[in-house]
Point group: C2
Chain length 393, copies 2
Amino acid sequence: MSDALNLRIPGPTPVPADILEAVAHPMVNHRGREFAALISRVAERLKDWFQTSNDVLILSASGTGGLESAVVSTLSPGDKVLSVSIGAFGERFAAIADTYGGDVIPLQYEWGQAARAEDVRQALGEHPDVKAVLVTHNETSTGVTNPLEEIARVVRSQDPGARSQEPSRGSGRTDGGRSEPTPLLLVDAVSSLGAIPFEADGWGLDVVVTGSQKGWMVPPGLAFVSMSERAWQAYEQAKMPRFYLDLGRHRDALPKGQTPWTPAMSIFFGLDAALERMAEEGAERIFTRHASMGRMVREGVKALGLELLCQDERFASDTVTAIKCPEGIEVSALRNAMEDDYNVVLAGGQGKLQGKIFRIGHLGLVEEEDIRETMAALEQTLAKLGWTAGVRS
Amino acid sequence: MSDALNLRIPGPTPVPADILEAVAHPMVNHRGREFAALISRVAERLKDWFQTSNDVLILSASGTGGLESAVVSTLSPGDKVLSVSIGAFGERFAAIADTYGGDVIPLQYEWGQAARAEDVRQALGEHPDVKAVLVTHNETSTGVTNPLEEIARVVRSQDPGARSQEPSRGSGRTDGGRSEPTPLLLVDAVSSLGAIPFEADGWGLDVVVTGSQKGWMVPPGLAFVSMSERAWQAYEQAKMPRFYLDLGRHRDALPKGQTPWTPAMSIFFGLDAALERMAEEGAERIFTRHASMGRMVREGVKALGLELLCQDERFASDTVTAIKCPEGIEVSALRNAMEDDYNVVLAGGQGKLQGKIFRIGHLGLVEEEDIRETMAALEQTLAKLGWTAGVRS
């Protein structure tokens, strides 16, 4: 086993040595020419990863701050918000909207399941005045990837009168037919973007949020957010209070290569190096690598006789896998032994899954060797803890 | 002249090589044992610098995010707020309160002047229902340090009936006598704390905010905030919406050595090294060094025949000096020439002082040699730009 830490949590992900070196760049003037060029360069490069022609704004905040910026920059208190939630981060997105006075309609799934586009269609039919839909692309707490493109198609089709399944269609506005504009689609892409295929414009996403410490192989501290033209129109009407996380202020500063507030410069330096590295590998190879790592983890886990939380392979996440902790084994004992004996760091469960699952992160800097090492350590640790595959079945 | 950048802006300040090395620390589990120990250690050490027995909370945000956290964690929409403003950052603090629905009473001074405690007393007399007073300790945009201890004494003395100067004192509540609790005192200590004497508890300050990229010699990305017991009582009643910048969530996570959201870990690693370095130098020597650097800059500038924006030496800042740009010289030309020819980076003016002043930062990592180099470069640059001392007087 290697002496180096095998950090297999779903973020912060391991940062390569050359990117760490970039992070240690000496300070310069954050409003000077050199740093303005850097901000412009990384913002431009991020557009390729978002697959958007819109600006990508960079906030000095974690992913949660990015999610809050999406809500407060597009909505007003009292706005009806459909929250599609399949885990802890879906709940967090909803809690933010609720905190700022949004009227949250919950569409909740058992943790471990993916959302179904058909349910979203039905919920929007029942609530024709929904102003925005909140969706998590990849739910870090459960290892499930939502069918985002399909969900987006349903949300996009919610034009006035477009709900063709409704028998009362065409009978006028009093039937609850959609007289409001198409809902905005706000997407938490924190643990998906940069690691698995993603198309902000092609899928018709309005606000997309991600964070530096996931697929990007950069330390935590920055959130990246894109806004569609429709989202900017909503911004003009949005009345939720906002200051530090105001996306309009970030948009206005970007053409000068600036941020409205002093940015977390070290992370920007790292991001610059990371985007260069990612460009060298190329999107296709990065996506293929993540798909392959995801499969390798799931097959490895099943081969050990363990059970995945997400039992539908179609929605299994290629960036993080949640595994049911076998009966008789404590998650904390398993994680401590993995770290103490093998230098492999796993994540536990969040919220109601605490103590019930453990998670393996496989996004960003991850190669077959890391997964092989993880699986070998897991097998030996389980054996040491007295668990034998299949005993409980 | 040295080849290294002489970064003489009032933040980000230069980061010593050993601290940059710490910033490049590889990622670990942000909820693991090692990082929990680090968070607990730096939070404890910060208390010494704040001179407080209260927790110091660490937010992954810039100083502006810290200021917002202070406002939204203690106030409700409609609360009357006295804004004591002597420059751009005082205005920003007020703008945050206004954005969240605070009823802001402005007490504004000409930029370059300090606030007077007597004016604060009078304003509080006129507005006995003021819930909070916002004060900037050191105004980075003008190079002025407010008499914070005096102002705090005035605010603290605003108990019911304590306004002894009022002739109508004792004639009952209808005279406008203070029936409300003593106002909270919210302090922007972004460019003062860690560099000049400061006593959160001793002076009776309720919320104190500072940022990593100033006196601490750490890259930008973290804000540090302390809350008094009275501030925590206000927190329980405060109705401004808050999520990412919610200080209560930070307070609840701290005993576990955690932050509510994924922290900007690299900056924490840097902070840990910086606090060790600062402890070695010691508070007294650090304060003396800043006082001496401040004097050296002011004397040097005056010796060149230039005029300080702050003409009252009692309130001249020991962390940043604002200098009136001589007539006939463009600030941008001066700054560009200083950087291109001498590697000395100065700051320009902000807001209404843009194009009228330039600023020299002298906080954090700063020694006599840096100031000597700056002054020599300034003298030569002014000469090249055709300015001769005293010509315009």
